[in-house]
Amino acid sequence: MTTAAMNAAAASAPARSPGLWSLAWKRLLGDRIAIVSMVVVILFLLLSLASFVGLVAKDWNREVAINYAPPTLFKDSHKPAADLKAGAKDGGPAVDSGAAKAEVVNDRDPLRDVIIELKGQLGQATGEVDSGIKVVDPLADVMAELRKQLGRTGDGAVAQADEKRAEHLPFGADKWGRDVLKKVIQGSETSILVGFAAAIVATLLGTVLGAFAGYFGGKTDDALNWFYSIFSSIPYILLVLAIAAVLKQKGIVTVVLILGLTGWTSIFRLVRAEYLKHKARDYVRAANAIGASNMRRMFVHIFPNISHVVLVQLSLHVVLFIKSEVILSFLGFGVPVDTVSWGSMLNEAQNELILGYWWQLVAATAFMAVLVTAFSLFTDALRDALDPKLK
């Protein structure tokens, strides 16, 4: 470029020094780990978005394979079905029968209810269902007989029982023959949704309270600090469990509220410190001089200058809440029974592992580990990019 052209360019568009965000973006793109982890996170987000709008894994609840169908890659090496079940019937390990009982108790499958009901009408022993569940399509003949007797052509649920089921699936199947791959995608959706929603709730709460405490100081600061000290003196997980004990109705909203309402404390402290630092700066006093209101000064003038702190905290808390949600759901205090999450999958996997069915455990663990690792690395890179001094 000639000097003249440069001058012309400079004249037409006054030289703009790159802002914080574009600099940070450039630094982020210069970091290979950051790019890889960002791509992984975006892939997960797209996957759960696709699952959310129903493009993939919509029918995760359908029983498409035989019970505990092994993953395709391991279909030859894994032949547990016959001998393990025989072992279980011969009285096997004590844990096994306990697990089997738990399965029956936890059974909320509409199809099975229908079958039990229909069998009851036939006057057959319903107890048979318990042991029959594990055998491939055990009620085929019963269903055929039923159809004849009742003259039913069968609704969707009943018809399903007659379908040909797969012997193996790419990721295997769970105890009802549901596709583990679809379950784990559905689980990603739940966990990511809860993680993000709870992180947004916590960040909003922490930022607004922190802004008020830091900006106004005095009595407001004292009151909010008191509030903060209450929440921070109770260990996080204990507070979560206490609230879970009180809130009876289960649901994704409840989990989000539990996590969001308890997890805002560290954000509050950081944001408060930032506002304390910024409120006396010249640009805020200038805003005051031109008559900007308190709210305007807090959220229009100061907030953009501390938003990088908030963004990093948001990112950190997504990871934290995804992990917490998994534990809550595992314990049965999290998402409701008809929703699948990584935590509820791990809960099922715990009993399955003893029977030798490891694929659900591996699928849930692998998906979670990949997302959380990528998200943590991305958060680290984001922090380094936004605050190069820290490095």
Partner: protein, 312 residues
């Protein structure tokens, strides 16, 4: 010093009042009427009224709050709703099992985490350092549940190195037989985040001028790292330890639950599952108190470690 301690203890009172108010709001106002829960499925109005009277929840809220405050102050939370065991007795009998896992864990974890952090901080920026950090990040992303499930299955169930679960009556048997695997798992889980944390604490120190001076005057690397750097980095490390302390008591609840260890953490889970409010209330209030006292102790420890620290 004495004035400082008294002032800090005095400051605990309003926070404690807040904790009591929060727990009270949660369990007595939001929590709804537990009488129906306790009476079970077959209940009549007299029964319900009777239970309400027994629990004191037919009183107005301010009266209930007074009862709760009295319970906190006198350590008398009455009996558990589900097992009828006196709550204070429950605490006393569950604490040893929790401590049996927590105390060895804390000692081992601190020694191992600090040594590894020192080693990786010393070779900072090298391949070893980066490999260790990546390992920690990945190890941290795997849920604690997976560690417990897999370790219990492989080490105890498959290989039979440890008992799958259980607890004995004998101190030695408990410590070396039943607590061994829980401690091992807790160690593996807590090492990764702590090594990362301690490494950053140490890295803050290794670039300081006094380290250069120590090297310049010819001190051995051992002396520089173990005496100069470690002593200065010990303040944030102590903070981290003290902050972990009260949470550890309940924080091991998953491990206690999996291994049927009769500790406080398992009791919390059982109480939440059974909606056993007195037990949860008692544990929450006292653990909050313990947290505040631990924070105070941490501040006092700073003074002992670093004479420059001024207590205000």
């Amino acid at each position: 010093m004495a004035a400082y301690i008294i002032r800090r203890l005095w400051q605990i009172i309003p926070t404690m009042a807040g904790v009591i108010l929060l727990i009270f709001t949660l369990f007595n106002v939001v929590g709804g009427d537990p009488a129906y829960l306790l009476a079970g499925k077959i209940s009549n109005p007299e029964q319900i009224a009777n239970i309400r009277k027994q629990l004191g929840i037919d009183e107005p809220y301010w009266m209930q709050l007074l009862i709760f405050v009295k319970q906190v102050v006198t350590f008398d939370f009455g009996a558990s709703w589900s097992t009828n065991e006196v709550v204070s007795h429950m605490f006393a009998s569950r604490l040893p099992a929790s401590l049996m896992i927590t105390v060895p864990l804390l000692i081992l974890e601190t020694i191992i985490a600090v040594s590894i952090a020192l080693a990786v901080a010393y070779v900072r920026g090298s391949f070893t350092d980066r490999a260790a950090m990546v390992t920690c990040t990945v190890a941290q992303s795997i849920s604690i549940l997976v560690y417990i499930i897999v370790f219990q299955y492989v080490l105890a169930y498959k290989w039979g190195l440890f008992p799958v679960q259980g607890w004995g009556n004998n101190f030695g048997e408990n410590l070396f037989k039943f607590a061994a695997l829980p401690i091992l798992i807790a160690l593996v889980v807590s090492l990764a985040p702590n090594i990362r944390l301690y490494r950053t604490f140490l890295l803050d120190e290794v670039n300081q001028d006094y380290v250069r001076t120590a090297r310049a005057k010819g001190l051995s690397e051992n002396r520089v790292m173990f005496v100069h750097v470690l002593r200065n980095a010990s303040i944030p490390i102590i903070t981290n330890l003290m902050i972990q302390l009260p949470g550890l008591l309940v924080g091991l609840f998953l491990i206690e639950r999996f291994f049927s260890v009769p500790g406080i953490g398992r009791e919390v889970i059982l109480a939440v599952e059974r909606s056993d409010f007195p037990v949860i209330k008692a544990i929450t209030v006292y653990v909050a108190l313990a947290t505040m006292l631990a924070n105070l102790a941490a501040d006092l420890l700073y003074k002992a470690v670093d004479p420059r620290v001024e207590l205000k």
